[in-house]
């Protein structure tokens, strides 16, 4: 039964932590103390403008997606190159398969006109 109290303890501390942090940040940041700059997200630098809910073009997302794919490829290939001598032929073939899969994706994206700036 004592083990169950650990669970209860975790739950209580977990909930209390949320209110503690929120309360602390309210105590520290909420009041401007007569200085309006204290209420701003950044005390120095350029003043923020506009709404955080503003809309922006998402036509970049496909480039971002392709970038992520090739970013991951770099991570794999870099490590693979380090131990290339130990992996022998099997390692080489595995990487060929991996790159081939990515190339099919790139070729598809290219063919579909994704890489053309609109």
């Amino acid at each position: 039964m004592t083990e169950l109290w650990y669970v209860v303890g975790f739950a209580v501390v977990g909930v209390a932590f949320v209110f503690l942090v929120l309360g602390l940040s309210w105590l520290i940041t909420h009041r401007n103390r007569g200085d309006e700059h204290k209420g701003r997200p950044y005390e120095s630098g350029i003043d923020t403008y506009g709404d955080t809910w503003g809309r922006f073009g998402i036509s970049y997302y496909i480039y971002a997606l392709l970038f992520v794919a090739f970013d991951i490829e770099v991570i794999f290939i870099y490590l693979w190159a380090l131990v290339f001598r130990d992996l022998l032929l099997a390692g080489f073939i595995s990487m060929l398969i991996f790159v081939a899969i990515l190339l099919v994706g790139l070729g598809y994206a290219w063919r579909k006109g994704v890489l053309t700036w609109k």
């Binding site: 083990e3 650990y6 669970v7 099919v104 070729g107 598809y108 063919r111 579909k112």
Partner: protein
């Protein structure tokens, strides 16, 4: 990596290659939908043959991370059938709406690969990768009609709750891993059996895993995303979403709960029982009030989740009750009859702008007798009236609950009561089809040959499973018995 590793995962590799082939064909010859569909179906046939072939020499691959046993083969063949039927039905709906068909087929095959990976996983991490590979294409498909506000709304709800539940599930797996020190499913089962009993931390882990899984199968009270996601999605996608990820999630339940958490089945038994009662009762009660057939079928799919959970509860109470066999049979029967019903709905919606309201079905029996009769067949099967697949599916579930003993037979009574309540809203559609006149004269619709074939295949399967259920019950029994080795 040995040669046997490669042969055992051959169906998975083939499935991925099929998806690539569809994409490449589409890139070389854009908008030739028939070619893409043909490549997809031929590829799926090859995958099915390979699946049966690997079943000849079952075993573990990659050091025990992936397994091929009768259960894997059984579930894989269901997934292949589901995707093949969806690929048949899809183009007729997507074509008139200018939605790409080739990507639809390729995405489905990717999702199928994930589901097959779940069915064969012997490791919790492989299982999670398979789960994500299965559900990510699902989010994409839910928002497939991207110019349609409802489709986008459904996709966003599905995506947010789906990824949230994946995170919860993974968190639960982390607990299980932390307490047992292994991610191998057999190892987890051994460690839990050795620990004898449920420690509080393991209870937390199981609770998180249950919550995550309950989201995926849309069990009450974790079902809120279902109606919106199902109603908003393009109809063939809804058909797929109501069976594909659901069967996949039940494959996951069998691998996690029956195998890994099998030694503590007495502890998760009451949870499954309560979920089963809540799910089928609420699903049916809300389905009664729906006037939109797609939304009605969404709630009815929630109710069917409840029935399947009854079988799982019966198994947890007594492994010899036949509960697992009933679950496996139900999954197959449900896939065909539900896909059939959605195929008819999407056939009616071939012309863009036609809604899935009940009125659309008015007079269908005279207007298109062929579709009317088949829709009646699917609805009777969903109700559970012989001689259809749904009858034996429900009968097996109820029998297993009766045999399980203890308090589980109460679930059998609730299942029967629910089935009666469900008859009301299923048969209401039949009443509309045969006894109401259409308010406006609908235009003639010419259905494509692929759609006719898809609906016919679903109907034949529904009838055959209802008249001659023996072979499939045997297959389900064999698949279930492959779990009782250790």
């Amino acid at each position: 990596m040995t040669w046997s590793d490669v042969t055992l995962i051959a169906p998975l590799v083939a499935a991925l290659l099929v998806a690539f082939a569809i994409i490449v064909v589409d890139a070389i010859a854009p908008h030739r939908d028939r070619i893409a569909v043909a490549v997809g179906l031929a590829g799926l046939a090859i995958v099915a043959v390979l699946t049966v072939w690997t079943d000849q020499a079952p075993g573990l691959a990659f050091g025990g991370a992936y397994t091929v046993d009768t259960l894997t083969t059984y579930l894989d063949l269901i997934f292949i059938a589901i995707v093949a039927l969806t690929v048949l039905v899809g183009p007729d709906y997507l074509g008139p709406r200018d939605l790409p068909v080739a990507e639809f087929a390729a995405t489905l095959v990717f999702a199928m690969t994930g589901a097959m990976l779940i069915a064969g996983s012997a490791d919790l991490l492989v299982l999670f990768v398979g789960l994500e590979l299965m559900v990510l294409p699902g989010y994409l498909l839910a928002g497939y009609a991207k110019r349609d506000a409802l489709s986008t709304e459904g996709a966003i709800k599905y995506f947010l709750l789906g990824s949230f539940s994946s995170a919860i599930f993974l968190f639960g797996l982390a607990y299980v891993w932390g307490l047992t020190g292994t991610t191998r499913i057999a190892g987890v089962a051994d460690a839990i059996a050795a620990a004898q009993g449920l420690s509080p931390a393991l209870a937390m882990g199981v609770a998180f895993v249950t919550t995550g899984v309950a989201f995926k199968i849309a069990a009450v009270p974790f079902h809120y995303w279902t109606p919106d996601a199902y109603q908003g999605s393009p109809t063939p996608v809804t058909g797929y979403l109501s069976v594909g990820p659901k069967v996949g999630a039940f494959a996951l339940i069998i691998r996690v709960f029956v195998e890994a958490l099998g030694p503590i089945n007495a502890d998760w038994l009451p949870v499954m029982g309560v979920l089963a009662v809540l799910t089928m009762t609420l699903g049916n009660l809300v389905a009664v009030t729906q006037t939109n057939v797609k939304r009605m079928l969404a709630y009815s799919s929630i109710a069917h989740t409840g029935y399947i959970l009854v079988g799982l509860t019966a198994y947890a109470a007594d492994p010899n009750s036949g509960g697992l066999e009933a679950v496996l049979f139900y999954l197959a029967a449900y896939s065909f009859m539900n896909l059939g019903a959605f195929a008819v709905v999407s056939a009616l919606q071939k012309r863009p702008g036609v809604t899935s309201q009940l009125d659309t079905f008015a007079g269908l029996g005279r207007r298109e007798p062929y579709l009317g009769i088949l829709m009646t067949l699917f609805l009777l099967s969903l109700t559970g009236i012989p001689p259809t697949a749904g009858f034996f599916a429900k009968a097996l579930i109820i029998l297993s609950a009766v045999q399980a003993g203890g308090w589980v037979p109460i679930l059998a009574v609730i299942t029967v009561l629910n089935a009666v309540a469900a008859a009301f809203y299923y048969l209401r559609v039949v009443v509309y089809m045969y006894m109401r006149d259409p308010q406006i004269e609908p235009a003639e619709v010419d259905h494509g040959p692929l759609l006719r074939l898809g609906v016919a295949v679903a109907a034949v399967a529904t009838v055959i499973l209802g008249v001659l259920p023996g072979p499939l019950i045997d297959a389900a029994t064999k698949a279930a018995s492959s779990l009782f080795r250790g």
